[in-house]
């Protein structure tokens, strides 16, 4: 399935909506196993994405993804900034070659892994991106992928990020970055897949 720049814009604006609506919840998840700011970080970052996209002149998929990356990198303020930023930077770069959604998401996932040096099982946003990327490649991506990923992230013990400092207290908790990534992919379903 191919991604157009209009779909990408709607995708990211939808993501902004979900993150903003769930800002307090995301921060609460982050309070339990981190520093309590993921919600405000992501609200701030996606607000900047929304502003940038409203003024972007280059109507290409690459430009939309790159502007998104830059807004997130410069405004999020926490680890998720460089991480989401690297994901969208990698997608922007890949968008020069292809619009294939599955290939783009895979590129985004690699960007996150490269930047954060984490992997599946470390209890990070990767534990949402990986199952989604795999499902997209296999043609089985749906809300159920996202729901299952959240169930699977709970029992993990955090190995990266601030949650890795709280030891066993991360076990049984939802990882905030995985949850915000869940919103990203729900927005994808609503604006692109559906």
């Amino acid at each position: 399935m191919e991604l157009t720049h209009e779909q990408a814009q709607r995708w990211l604006l939808n993501f902004h909506g979900k993150v903003t609506d769930n800002k307090a919840y995301l921060s609460d998840l982050d309070q339990a196993i981190g520093d309590g700011d993921h919600g405000s970080n992501m609200a701030r970052g996606t607000e900047a994405v929304k502003e940038k996209l409203a003024s972007v002149t280059d109507e290409s998929l690459e430009a939309v993804l790159k502007q998104t990356a830059m807004a997130l990198i410069s405004k999020v303020g926490g680890a998720s900034g460089p991480l989401y930023g690297s994901a969208f930077m990698a997608m922007a770069k890949k968008a020069k070659e292809t619009r294939d959604l599955s290939v783009l998401i895979e590129a985004g996932l690699e960007g996150i892994k490269h930047r954060g040096k984490a992997d599946v099982g470390d209890k990070t946003m990767i534990d949402m991106w990986q199952p989604v990327a795999t499902a997209l490649k296999e043609g089985t991506f749906s809300q159920a992928t996202i729901d299952q990923a959240l169930l699977d992230v709970k029992p993990l013990k955090a190995k990266k990020g601030r949650a890795s400092y709280v030891g066993d207290r991360s076990i049984g908790a939802l990882d905030p970055g995985a949850v915000s990534s869940g919103y990203l992919f729900e927005a994808l379903i609503e604006e692109v897949i559906a």
């Binding site: 520093d35 309590g36 601030r162 030891g167 207290r169």
Partner: protein, 122 residues
């Protein structure tokens, strides 16, 4: 009563900034701090460090410091207080952050000591 944390830095702004950094991730942990000399210059103050130790809600304290002379001042205060004070040679910010996150997580001293050991640099 859980472990309390004392931050002793050569600089007032560093101590206050580290306190802010730690409190974000450890809102329920008892953290006090002292930085710089009595005149706000770079150095250590016996009085400020003594106040941080005495005013901490906890009676069992792990104390972190940046450079050596803050450690000597901590030692002198610890010799005069009734509190149970341990001075930690771990990396100052990294160690304090680790300890605070673990105390917030309900960990006990032995686990915290184990996590601090690889951070020992002084």
């Amino acid at each position: 009563m859980s472990l309390g944390i004392v931050i002793a830095s050569h600089v007032d702004h560093i101590a206050e900034g580290v306190y802010r950094l730690l409190k974000e991730s450890a809102p329920d942990v008892s953290i006090t701090y002292a930085g710089g000399t009595d005149d706000g210059e770079v150095g250590s103050s016996y009085a400020l460090i003594e106040a941080a130790i005495e005013q901490n809600d906890s009676d069992t304290l792990y104390c972190f410091y940046d450079l050596g002379s803050a450690k000597m001042t901590l030692e002198m205060v610890s010799e005069m207080t009734d509190k149970d004070v341990t001075i930690i040679d771990a990396a100052f910010i990294e160690g304090a952050y680790t300890a605070c996150a673990l105390i917030q997580g309900g960990y006990k001293q032995t686990d915290i000591d184990a996590q601090l050991a690889p951070l020992k640099v002084k």
